[in-house]
Symmetry: C2
């Protein structure tokens, strides 16, 4: 099944502009009356038919809608961006496929000063949504200061690090939401870990392997899902 993406829904019409419009009208040459499936990234799958395409947009008439409820257990990955944007694009694609609820890019003491291309990352997430048929786009926060990350609410809060001599635990997943912080290549500094502990975080180890940042991110998202399903 091929899906389109739009959040521009007015009364009974869905409007597609930009790439989605061009893809529908110029590449697939969908004709008025043909069926089109549209995701809004917020739980709805619309079955619609094309009313018309003009130069600027395609307008679809909604025929039915199927709404999913968001999962109760919303997991949130907070990760320091790598210098190489493509590694973060890859991570967003994979987290979208996996149905992660929220991803934030962290500004910590040793974070790279990466200026992420927000539009491009949003498009990659939309594209992964359409490809996977998932109903929910992850919420993406492009710049989250470390202090703000510590104030986030979750049932279980973890800070992953590799600082030697500190006691860390393996990931356990019980019911409830998880908030997991992954540091930059240079790791968190010890004062950051201490500050997190004061806010109720637990120290997390991801095992003996020295993982790249984005690998650690996807590993954690996979691990939470695997542990939840047993």
């Amino acid at each position: 099944m091929r899906f389109f993406f739009s959040t521009d829904i007015r009364s009974n019409d869905i409007h597609l502009a930009g790439d989605e419009h061009r893809h529908l009208s110029k590449v697939l040459r969908v004709r008025p009356g043909e069926e089109v499936l549209v995701l809004d990234g917020a739980g709805a799958l619309y079955t619609s038919e094309l009313k018309y395409s003009d130069r600027n947009e395609s307008v679809l008439k909604i025929q039915s809608v199927d709404r999913s409820e968001a999962a109760n257990e919303r997991d949130h990955l907070v990760i320091a961006p790598t210098k190489n944007q493509s590694r973060m694009e890859w991570l967003v694609e994979k987290c979208t496929e996996m149905g992660l609820a929220e991803i934030s890019f962290l500004r910590s003491a040793r974070s790279e000063k990466t200026k992420l291309k927000e539009d491009r990352i949003e498009r990659i997430a939309q594209s992964a949504l359409k490809q996977s048929g998932n109903r929910f786009l992850p919420k993406i926060n492009f710049e989250l200061p470390f202090d703000s990350a510590l104030e986030l609410a979750a049932d279980h809060k973890y800070i992953a690090h590799c600082i030697e001599g500190r006691s860390r635990e393996a990931l356990k997943v019980t019911s409830g939401s998880n908030l997991i912080l992954i540091g930059p290549e240079g790791d968190f500094v010890e004062t950051e870990v201490e500050a997190a502990l004061e806010k109720g975080f637990r120290e997390l180890t991801l095992g003996d392997n020295r993982l790249r940042t984005e690998t650690a991110g996807f590993y954690v998202v996979s691990a939470v899902q695997a542990l939840r399903s047993i």
Copy 2:
């Protein structure tokens, strides 16, 4: 720590050729007498010093060697290659970081006829090894027929598929080695699943998300590790 990779070890000397030689001599301009760390991908970490670099190679004198034992629990991912080679390169990189023992590319009924660039994939694995500091390169089999995959030995054998109406179980990890088959985008055909069941495989679900092939592959490798560490 920066590592080099070589399997060309003769008595007390390590020989580096090709890219490794050029990187050491031309990029890093290592001088005779300087220390160089070398991984052989088979468990050894050599501490050595440069004897000399000439036009064709660099020769290192071994000073000490630290050997790791291979994990007892050797997991093996068998996966149908995607048409897009870069997605398989990415998977090999990630599996190497994670310390997977073996990865095979499967030729099944609906596999893409992908001709993988073997040299390039081997280099990517070596590069991920050096980056992660892991001691063991995954063994990579570039073309494994489906019938041969069914004859492979492991303590626990799974075939992951999405065929509707069939009963599948979630991944459980107990002690012992795991062999996991991931099919092509078009999935396994039912006769393949039946043949696997006869050989002692169990039917596996990876959850409700429609994952790309390489995402499913890395998810499984992560899940095994997460489940083993609880």
